[in-house]
């Protein structure tokens, strides 16, 4: 697998809403098949940055490139074949079963009426099995807990068979068991299937374990960017989050 191939690249990318620039002129290259996590304090612009990478919001300057093609120049359909997302948007649907929602991931591949082929059904069932939702497959989506819903939307994103998977706070609402399972699935997708994963994470310990590259965003800039070893060296993380070294409940891995 071409380890040095670049899957996603940004060129002087500025993101924000309307005229308010939140993150300025970022240059970033993400290797194909790697796992990249974006960390940083609340309100630093992590989500806005991620939403721009996913094509949700137009950049205020600069550009995002997928395999050297401009993200905002390609059609929605072309993008959907390369990239899928798990966002924090609440999904409100009535009378839709878990299987129906998950199988929406096949959207770019189905015909004009969206009827699932045998293969689409097989792929959907496989991923549902993978994320441990088999028992819930026939349940209605709106009857599930937030954590179960999160897993369904995670499954949907994988079922879209992306080259790049963009995840916004994927571990939110999940309990420990499913957090760990999600990490294993992300690792498997990246190592075995060569999927490039880019996500925002609040859990630093998880980010350190899973990521090949960490991007720290603070006050609208990429404050630092590197391997977990580099980023977690010295006092760096404490400075990033402005935490006191003497803080009473400072977790073990930051001491």
């Amino acid at each position: 697998m071409g380890q040095d191939k670049i899957a996603l690249r940004t060129d002087k990318l500025s993101v924000g809403y309307e005229k308010n620039i939140i993150v300025k002129e970022m240059n970033l290259s993400v290797k194909a098949g790697s796992v990249t996590s974006i960390i940083g304090p609340n309100g630093a612009g992590k989500s806005t940055f991620l939403k721009t990478l996913a094509g949700y919001i137009e950049p205020l300057g600069g550009m995002v490139y997928l395999d050297d093609a401009s993200l905002f120049g390609m059609s929605d359909h072309a993008r959907s074949l390369k990239m899928s997302v798990l966002m924090t948007d609440k999904v409100k649907v009535e009378w839709m079963k878990v299987f129906d929602i998950a199988s929406m991931g096949r959207y770019p591949y189905t015909g004009s009426m969206g009827v699932l082929s045998e293969e689409d059904i097989k792929k959907t069932s496989e991923v549902i099995e993978l994320v441990g939702l088999s028992a819930l497959k026939e349940r209605y989506f709106n009857e599930l807990s937030d954590g179960q819903k999160q897993r369904v939307m995670f499954a949907r994103a994988i079922i879209q068979e992306p080259k790049i998977l963009v995840l916004d706070e994927p571990s939110s609402f999940l309990d420990m068991k499913y957090k760990l399972e999600m990490l294993s699935i992300i690792r498997k997708l990246s190592r075995e299937d060569g999927v490039t994963v880019i996500m925002t994470l609040h859990e630093l310990e998880m980010a350190r374990q899973i990521s090949d590259m960490l991007i720290c965003i603070k006050d609208g800039c990429i404050e630092c960017c590197g391997t977990p070893e580099e980023v977690f060296a010295g006092d760096h993380i404490l400075k990033l989050y402005e935490i006191d070294r003497d803080s009473e409940f400072l977790p073990e891995f930051l001491r």
Partner: protein, 337 residues
């Protein structure tokens, strides 16, 4: 698993079609002149005297009108609910029907001054302009206010303003032809001719087929705009398609039947509950049939309960539909709370 599911849907369709046929026949037989079912069948085969005329030229077009317009109104409601991601959006609530009604009244009165009787296409064009104008105002406001409940209240207010202006015009217009306008402005399926039915059925069928062909994008849009976009849907084009289709269908109903309230909200809800699904591919034809059943039933009550006096269709649909809307809102509130 899929066969069991399909079987359930087929049963639902059979129920809807059976209800449609039975109500259609009852509507033909019942009324200020009671006609037996056997005479109804006789009229179809070209026999029977005076009653045959009542069946074929008065009641049958009316049955078709209730079926086609009721179906169109319900599908329009479903499209608007998809568009606004809100179960109580509908042509009547958002003021779209009232906008159409106002434009039709204005056009009619304007043309009557020159002694011109408005034809079907003129009515539809005027109604379409009116519904697009109301929809335009709603869309302008939706860019400013993010809260759905406030948007819907704005829609209700637009509806009231349009209805008030229409009433004002109708009251002060001095022409014997306005008598018709008065009945129409209350809402009724009466007085629809076979020529009207031809126009209505062509437009309704085209809109229905187009809506059905949008099943796939609608299902993506149900997950929210962001996800729909990420799955490859061109949101801008899709939203324009939804607006045009729902406005055209609402306009058609307003032009021929006047205001018909709450059908657009109640029917999609009832049909989704019946099918226990909201997959557009399955429920869109069901919603159309359900709208037909709902309006046939409402029209039957409007004609029969105080015969020979006739109620306005909107009073009947309001009594049947408004409690359902309250129920939906309470359910939403429970989920939010």
């Amino acid at each position: 698993m899929f066969n069991k599911e399909n079987f359930k849907y087929i049963v639902c369709y059979i129920i809807l079609i059976a209800a449609l046929v039975v109500l259609g026949l009852v509507n033909l037989a019942a009324g200020s002149v009671d006609i037996s079912i056997s005479d109804v069948f006789a009229a179809f085969s070209g026999e029977g005297g005076k009653s045959a005329y009542i069946i074929t030229d008065i009641r049958l077009p009316r049955v078709f009108a209730a079926l086609l317009l009721g179906g169109a109104l319900s599908v329009a409601g479903f499209l608007l609910q998809t568009f606004f991601a809100n179960p109580i959006a509908g042509p009547f609530v958002l003021g779209i029907s009232s906008g159409a009604k106002l434009f039709v009244a204005l056009t009619m009165i304007f043309l009557l001054q020159y002694g011109i009787q408005i034809n079907s296409f003129g009515m539809i064009t005027a109604a379409f302009c009116g519904s697009m104008a109301a929809m335009g105002i709603i869309l302008l406001m939706s860019a400013k206010v993010k809260s759905m409940s406030i948007l819907i209240i704005c829609g209700i207010m637009i509806g009231y303003i349009c209805t008030a202006v229409t009433d004002f015009i109708v009251t002060f217009a001095e022409d014997s032809n306005i008598v018709n306008l008065h009945y129409w402005s209350l809402g009724s399926f009466s007085g629809i001719t076979w020529d009207n039915i031809k126009v209505i059925s062509v437009i309704v069928l085209v809109c229905l087929v187009c809506s059905f062909l949008l099943s796939k994008p609608i299902s993506a849009y149900q997950l929210g705009e962001g996800y729909a976009k990420s799955m490859g849907l061109n949101i801008t084009v899709f939203r324009i398609e939804l607006i045009l289709l729902s406005s055209l269908m609402s306009a058609l109903v307003a032009a021929f039947a006047g205001p018909v309230s709450f059908v657009g909200i109640a029917v999609p809800h009832l049909v989704k509950t019946l099918f226990k699904s909201s997959r557009p591919l399955i429920v869109i034809p069901g919603i159309f049939l359900g709208g037909g059943v709902f309006c046939l039933f409402a029209d039957l009550i409007a004609r029969v309960v105080f015969a020979p006096l006739e109620l306005s269709i909107s009073s009947v649909t309001a009594i049947m539909g408004a409690p359902i809307v309250i129920f939906i809102m309470l359910k939403e509130r429970r989920k939010a709370g």
